[in-house]
Structure formats: structure tokens, C-alpha cells
């Protein structure tokens, strides 16, 4: 009986082991992008190498995380700001609006609300969200409903001002 029990037990253990090996491999590949290091955290090289999605490839993963990247909003067209003014976008929450407490102040813009839109970095993507403004926030000409992820080259319109977002 014993010689039957041992391989049975071994097979059982091996099966469970393989199942979890599968989960481990899949999670490492599939969920690595969740572990984006926040911008204000110190960059540790050893950690980075454990969580890449496409390490083997020559190109970095698309916008997979904000490390080392500096994003800017560039004024394209505005009634109140000089064209080509650059606003670096850091981590955390940034507020765009007419009130002087905003991070990007759209002074005297009749079309902008006091607190018009918010920029948030989350999971390696920059999101713009309308802060219940009167006239709405537009991304590439479409009204933003809820948090809308931004990609390099997108046009964000707040009040009378159109920004170009670039990473």
C-alpha cells in the first residue's frame, strides 16, 4: 500500500505546486504594473527589475509608470495665459481653476470656474477630472465625464484655455 501512497502524495503536492507556480508567473507578469513607484518615493534599482512588464523588449512599457518622467501642460491657446507657457505636473493632486489657490491659476478667465478641474496621477497614468465646473472640461474636444486618463499629445480644454499634455 505504501508504494502506492507515496507517488499519490507526491503527485498531489506537485499539482498544487504547479497551480501556484502558474499563479505566481501570471501575477508577476500581469499585475506588475500595479506596483508603480510613486513619484516622490526614492527610486531603488533592485525593485524596478522585479516588476517590469516588458523587460525583455527594447522599448519601455507604455506610460506604465511615472518614474523619472516629467509631465507638462503646455498652453496652446488661451485668452488669459501666454501661449507655450509650460506647467510641470508633479505627483499628487493639482487643481486648475480661476481661484488664486489653484495650482494652475486661470486668472480672470470668465469661462473657468473657481476650481475647475483636477489632475491626479494614479497607477502610472495621469487623470484629469472635472471638478463640477460650470462649463465642463474637454479632452480632445470631448467632454470629460469622471476621471479621464491623459496620453501624451492630448488636448485639455479648461475654460478658454487649451493645454497640450505631454509626458
Amino acid at each position: 500500500m505504501l508504494d502506492l501512497q507515496v507517488p499519490l502524495l507526491a503527485a498531489k503536492a506537485l499539482l498544487l505546486l504547479l497551480l501556484f507556480a502558474f499563479i505566481y508567473v501570471v501575477v508577476r507578469r500581469g499585475i506588475g504594473d500595479l506596483r508603480a513607484v510613486p513619484d516622490d518615493e526614492v527610486f531603488v534599482p533592485g525593485v524596478e527589475n522585479k516588476t517590469p512588464r516588458r523587460r525583455a523588449q527594447e522599448k519601455p512599457a507604455y506610460g506604465s509608470n511615472g518614474r523619472g518622467k516629467s509631465s507638462v501642460l503646455v498652453v496652446e491657446d488661451s485668452e488669459v495665459l501666454a501661449p507655450e507657457t509650460r506647467f510641470p505636473v508633479s505627483g499628487g493632486v493639482m487643481v486648475l481653476g480661476r481661484s488664486s489657490g489653484s495650482d494652475i491659476v486661470l486668472k480672470n478667465d470668465d469661462y473657468a470656474s473657481g476650481e475647475h478641474a483636477r489632475l491626479t496621477r494614479h497607477g502610472g497614468l495621469m487623470y484629469v477630472e472635472d471638478a463640477e465646473s460650470t462649463n465642463g472640461t474637454y479632452v480632445n474636444g470631448r467632454k470629460a465625464v469622471g476621471a479621464t486618463p491623459l496620453r501624451s499629445g492630448d488636448r485639455v480644454k479648461v475654460g478658454s484655455t487649451t493645454f497640450r499634455y505631454s509626458e
Partner: protein
């Protein structure tokens, strides 16, 4: 979005091989036609290579998860039916269905590489979906008290499995067009903002028609999905919590109504609340399921050692109990984690997709997949009242397997377009070169 998954694919196939080997060796089960196992492995590998070739930017990790789930399902179906007279060929039939499903996946990928075309036919798809569901009333026949099956030539199938996908495409296409109009509304009834009938009408009509028909056909599991998925899509499209509140109220009213209208709902609920009051009748199935799961313990009884064959319908609805019994808490946790990875990738695809319709499509398909898993796993573990639906990819069932392969195909297509766009942004020339 680009994901390779060669190692996960290999491990998934190893799991299947080891499972069959254990059954054949230790249990002295008669060897199944080995050629079927080879067909299965060959199909999945060919599918993976094909997807890597045709959709180089897509998320092939989904396929690795599909391979694991179908493989574990095949092993369990074989284990549960090989010595049961009358159903001993179920595993080979399932292997055949996986082949058909893979063909359906390839066809979908080749025919609808530009899946945006599907949204042009959204009204047609909605009509087809409602027609499919309605067809079983006239042409269908009953299995286990619900008339859900259609016979076309030698093949029996469950149209609601395919109607689901068509409906999600309709909702995605329609909501993407009208979401701003649905979100921006000023009229209120009883303090709840309601959208104009002109825009909400088609959604409500299709929704009500499909739900009404399913409830009429007593397909409660599907009704639950058909109710919840459009609601979630509506919420995601508009960002209005009012829809969720309204949906919850409607759900409560609807559940109460069905409870009082249908006997079998009362039977299910009483079996859920107190199976011990009727251990030989209404509570038998759920009690056997609980015994099996408890018998498994942490590491399980080992393949072929459990007694989960005592559960009626074990190879379809209750396959999770059998897995929990023979692979234990660890094995069933791994399986649920595999489902979780699939859902996570689905949501990720939805986040990275370019346009509203694609986002909503990926989200709708993923949430349906997730809810289906939740409903049936919750049901067999007595966390919620049992409603009979299949565990995606694992349960025996041709329509379910083929339907889920089509679902995967659509997710792969959305991820391909998202991945291609991302690659273009990084390095336009490379992608143009590939296209040329």
C-alpha cells in the same frame, strides 16, 4: 498591453498533464483516448501561437489563464464521469467543444479584426439577442425545469450564452454614443435624476425585453447577469450613482416579486437558509456540496479520492465543489486567483482602450465574466442562494465554453488595438514598418 505568456502556457498544460497522469496511474482509471489530450494541448498551443502572430500587441496572458481553466475543467470532468454509465464520454465531448471554441475565437479574430464594425450593427445585434432568447420559448425544450435549450441538427445549445455577448456589444455601442446625454440631465422624479426617454428608451427596452423573457423562461442565473451587467455599464458610462441606487431598488423589488411568483425560487431560498430542514430533497444538493468541500480540507483528498460524485449536476454547476474537495482550499484558491487575474487584465484592457465604446465593451465582458464566477461559486458554497449557471471555462457545457472563447476573442481584439496604439506612440516607425 503586449504580453507574452509562453511560460504560463507551459505550466498550465503541465497541470493538465499531471492531472490526467494522476488519474490514470493512481486511480487505475481506463486511459482516455490519449489522442484527445494531444488534440487539446495542440489546440491551445496553436491558439496561443496564432494569437501571438495575428495580434502581436494583444494580452496573451488571457489565453494562458483560459488554458489553465479549461485544463483543470477537463481533468475534473473526466474524473467525475469516466466510470459513470451514460456520461462516460463527457470529457471527450468537452474537449471537442474546446476545439469548436478555439475555432470560434480564431474566426472572431479574423473576421472582426476591426471590431468597431460591430458597433455599427448594434441595433441588429440587440434584435438578434432578444430573438435568440425568445426562440427557446417556441422551439426550445426543457432540461431540469427550465426551457433554455435549442436543438439545431445534432447540436444542442443554449442561446442565452451568445445573446449575452451580443447584448453587451449593443450596450457598449449605444452607451458610448449617448453617455453624455444620459449623464447630463436635469429632470428629476422623486429626487432621482432621470434621463430623457428619447435616449434612455432603447436601453430600457432591450434590457426589459431580455430580462422579462429570461424570467419567463425561469433562467434565474442568466437573468441576474442580464440585470447586473447593463446596470454596471450604465454606471461606468455616466458616473451617476443614481443608476446604482435605482438598480438596487429595482433588484430588491424584482427579487421579492419572483420569490412570491415562482415556486422554485422559494425552494432555492429555503434550501439556502436552512438546508437541514430538507436534507433529502431541496437541501440535498447544497449539503452534498458542503460535505465535499469540507472533506477536502486544506490540501484536498487528492484527485480521484473524493466523493463529490454524490452531488447532482457536479460536472456543470457544482464543479467548483469537486475541485475544492479534491484539490482542497489551496487548489480552489489558486483557481479563484486565476479568475481574478483574468478579471484584472480585463479591467486593465478597459482602462487602456482608446475610445468609449471599446472601454465599455471590455468592461461589460469582464464584469459579466466576474459576476458569473461570483454567482456560481457563491451559490455552491452557500454564501448566496444557488442559481444554476456554469463556472466559465471550467464547467461542462458546449455553449458556455464557446461563448466564453468568443468573449476572450473580443477582449484580445480590444487589447490589440490598445497595445498597437501604445506602441505607435512610443515608436511610430516600428509599427508602420510592421504594417507595411
Amino acid at each position: 498591453m503586449t504580453q507574452r505568456a509562453t511560460i504560463p502556457m507551459a505550466i498550465a498544460l503541465l497541470v493538465t498533464t499531471l492531472g490526467f497522469a494522476t488519474l490514470i496511474f493512481v486511480q487505475e482509471a481506463k486511459s482516455p483516448p490519449l489522442i484527445y489530450g494531444a488534440y487539446y494541448a495542440g489546440t491551445m498551443v496553436a491558439l496561443y501561437l496564432g494569437v501571438r502572430l495575428w495580434l502581436p500587441h494583444s494580452d496573451a496572458l488571457l489565453l494562458a489563464v483560459v488554458t489553465l481553466l479549461t485544463g483543470v475543467g477537463l481533468v475534473m470532468i473526466y474524473r467525475l464521469t469516466y466510470d459513470v454509465p451514460g456520461v462516460e464520454n463527457l470529457a471527450t465531448t468537452q474537449a471537442g467543444w474546446i476545439l469548436v471554441g478555439s475555432a470560434a475565437l480564431v474566426l472572431t479574430v479574423l473576421l472582426f479584426k476591426d471590431y468597431h464594425r460591430l458597433f455599427n450593427y448594434k441595433y441588429l445585434l440587440a434584435a438578434v439577442a432578444v430573438g435568440l432568447i425568445a426562440s427557446t420559448i417556441f422551439f426550445g425544450y426543457e432540461v431540469n425545469g427550465a426551457q433554455l435549450w435549442l436543438r439545431v441538427g445534432p447540436v444542442n445549445f443554449q442561446p442565452s450564452e451568445f445573446a449575452r455577448i451580443a447584448l453587451i456589444i449593443f450596450f457598449a455601442g449605444y452607451l458610448a454614443d449617448t453617455r453624455d446625454l444620459l449623464a447630463a440631465t436635469s429632470r428629476t422624479i422623486l429626487g432621482v435624476q432621470v434621463p430623457a426617454l428619447k435616449y434612455f428608451g432603447p436601453v430600457a427596452l432591450v434590457w426589459a425585453a431580455s430580462l422579462g423573457l429570461l424570467v419567463f423562461e425561469k433562467d434565474l442565473g442568466s437573468s441576474l447577469l442580464f440585470f447586473a451587467v447593463p446596470l454596471l455599464m450604465l454606471y461606468v458610462a455616466t458616473g451617476r450613482i443614481a443608476y446604482v441606487i435605482l438598480g438596487t431598488v429595482l433588484f430588491s423589488v424584482g427579487s421579492l416579486a419572483t420569490y412570491f411568483l415562482f415556486d422554485h425560487v422559494q425552494v432555492r431560498v429555503s434550501a439556502w437558509l436552512d438546508p437541514w430542514s430538507q436534507p433529502d430533497t431541496g437541501g440535498f444538493q447544497i449539503l452534498q456540496s458542503l460535505f465535499s468541500i469540507a472533506d477536502g480540507g486544506i490540501t484536498g483528498t487528492g484527485l480521484g479520492e473524493g466523493f463529490s460524485q454524490a452531488i447532482p449536476e457536479v460536472e456543470t454547476d457544482f464543479i467548483f465543489s469537486a475541485i475544492a474537495s479534491e484539490l482542497g482550499l489551496l487548489g480552489s484558491t489558486a483557481l479563484l486567483l486565476a479568475f481574478l487575474v483574468f478579471v484584472y487584465r480585463g479591467i486593465k484592457i478597459s482602462l487602456l482602450a482608446a475610445d468609449d465604446a471599446s472601454k465599455l465593451l471590455a468592461f461589460g465582458l469582464t464584469s459579466m465574466f466576474a459576476l458569473q464566477t461570483l454567482i456560481i461559486v457563491g451559490g455552491v458554497t452557500k454564501a448566496i442562494p444557488l442559481t444554476g449557471i456554469t463556472l466559465p471555462f471550467v464547467s461542462y457545457g458546449g455553449s458556455s465554453v464557446v461563448g466564453n472563447f468568443v468573449l476572450t476573442a473580443l477582449l484580445l481584439l480590444v487589447s490589440e488595438s490598445a497595445g498597437r496604439r501604445a506602441a505607435e506612440e512610443e515608436d511610430p516607425e516600428v509599427v508602420e514598418g510592421e504594417a507595411a
